[in-house]
Assembly symmetry: none
Homo-oligomer: 207 residues x 4
DNA sequence: GATGAATGAGGGTTCATTCAT
DNA sequence: AATGAATGAACCCTCATTCAT
């Protein structure tokens, strides 16, 4: 069997095992067995547990970023609709790849460097993606005094909050039966776009 | 030395060690040494690593809940101001107890049952606390058609999103220099109460 | 059983195993079994294979040096008789501790730093011990133009040769039946003190 | 590429690797890579690690013996000058082939049978070569009562000591900067031919 | 003549846990 | 109330060796 194929199978097995057991609790034995190969082959191809885990993180981070970007490509949409598209793609992807999501959201950030750095990279790309959306939206609103008086730090903070809310909802949606990606995205838009204050007054998203 | 005191010292040492190393990487040896006692004594008082970790989680979850509740007790406040108080207390507590926060937010949820259950319990109490606030607020807004048409699931989802956003901001605030609890709370209120849509239009919290 | 005793037993087992198998081929399992303890206890007391081996080398090097020095203490002897005493003690010690001798002469010098350094230290002490003897002898021979025109390097070289010859004879004596320490020492004195050129002419040591 | 050439390249690589790493630490992977061939080819030609190492030892032992014999062929020389020639050749060869010398002197004798036997064979040939020289020399000294009263065992012991001294000096010369083969040989002749007792009295070799 | 793919076996190290005192 | 001594089990990693092509 060609190396490339085997290597992908190993990564699949590793993501599943790491996602379910955690980095430390996952054993190379279990990963090898799940991949249907012997342990030495895993080492031959991926060198060490650390490199294997890093390779998992990188692959899944790239896949998630790609999924979100792909979900938002339709041009000419209003900013809130773009955001909604991205969120829907995000929730759909995490729901379809729960082990990968566990690796990224839980395991990788819990086991120190050099793993956290990989996820921080992804998170920063998501955050900058969101801040881009927000700034675009602000520019497109003529009456707006822009987001200028919020300051860069506030904007980043808000994006962090949005990503964190999305991540929490992803976990909740995965554990709650029958919550579709669209429903999760709508819930989040209600919360994040409309704002609690206006929800109180009966407003809803989409208006 | 009385048992109760020793036990608290052990839990302190355990929270610090688990928080910094993670559940698996923390060794009973290290915890015992940090607590200044011999390993068999740890076992005598706390039975096993699993029970020790569970005790840590439970103690810190209760402490965090208590801190948030204590931050909100002033009666007669407007709902948004109550929310702001609770968030401020939350951010202050997590900033002052980073190891405890690491145990609750990262470690406990990363290492499967029975630990995740403890955190889920805490999270659900936070969520129900927040939903209570929201429902109270809605009742206090006469013009509101209440939150009724949102459905229970939406309300819970929104609360989950709020808690998730708060958790993400807590992490970000801990890693970013000089972000005070009040600043984090204000950022979150801007995001969560005002809503992104209205931020675009120049609105800010507090109005 | 008290720690000190156990530790000595472990070192005994380790010297035997390292001496017979070599550093790499000796397994911690075998050493532990020969010492009658479990492997973790070996690690608890001696930390690692490397430290264990180093401890063996150090202990045996010190023991050998002490044996040689003890063999030479009689004051007032002529230099050649002092040398003969030291050599006899050396051959007796190596014959009685063949595993220790293997560790020092073969294993330690074959497995790079930091082991070789320990043996180099011992060898240098032996060499400086021998050069001391030689210089004393030269001073005590009034007619001698001293060893001055030999230069320091020649003296060290000669001492190295003597130690090397002794080491080779030790190996040969251990493998050849019924070669006593005294016989080996006498053979070496014939070679080293009398010199081949004079042996040819029928001279012998002692004259 | 013809088999013979490939095989020599493999042995070269193996001698270098074994000499530097030691028998156990050298891996077939590293040897194959250094030889520029795939691992199965090494097995095809040399069957196993053990046989490969044995082949290395045999080749280098023969080369060293040949070098010493070649250094001594000039007929009609005095016995001490013949000995000096042989030693010079020995020191020159070991200095030019440090990896080979490491294999013979250190590695081969440190890793038990069947390797030690190969070196013992070589050593015995050296010893019998030297005893031949000595006996020839004794016969050529009319006044000498021959070496008869030394007994065979003494002669062999003396030859062992000489070879051991030469080996020790070879190691010392390799580690000490700027010690030429001739200098090492002269130092050894001073020691071995003249004898320490006469060095004390100011004698030197050559007289 | 030559190799990419693959593995059984074994070694160093760590750790949660217990027993006798 | 407290500990020094000890271990079974498991984990990461390496390596000599083979097979199909």
């Amino acid at each position: 069997m060609p190396r490339e194929v085997r290597e992908r199978e190993m990564l699949d097995a590793a993501v599943a095992t790491f996602g379910q057991r955690g980095y430390r609790a996952a054993s190379m034995d279990e990963i090898a067995e799940l991949a249907g190969v012997s342990k030495p082959l895993v080492y031959l191809y991926l060198n060490s547990k650390e490199e294997l885990f890093t390779a998992c993180i990188r692959r899944e981070a790239d896949a998630l970023l790609a999924a979100v970007r792909a979900g938002v490509v339709e041009p000419g949409l209003a900013p809130d609709e773009q955001l909604w598209s991205g969120l829907t793609a995000f929730f759909a992807h995490t729901a379809e790849n729960p082990d990968a999501w566990s690796v990224l959201h839980r395991q990788a950030r819990t086991h120190g460097e050099p793993f956290a750095a990989e996820v921080t990279r992804m998170r920063e790309e998501l955050v900058s993606f969101v801040t881009g959306l927000l700034r675009d939206a602000a520019r497109a609103t003529p009456a707006s005094p822009d987001l200028a008086d919020l300051g860069d730090r506030d904007v980043v903070g808000i994006a962090q909050a949005l990503v964190g809310a999305a991540e929490a909802l992803a976990g909740w949606a995965n554990e709650t039966p029958d919550v579709s990606a669209k429903e999760a995205a709508s819930t989040l838009m209600n919360f994040a776009w409309t704002g609690l204050g206006n929800l109180m007054d009966g407003e809803r998203w989409p208006k």
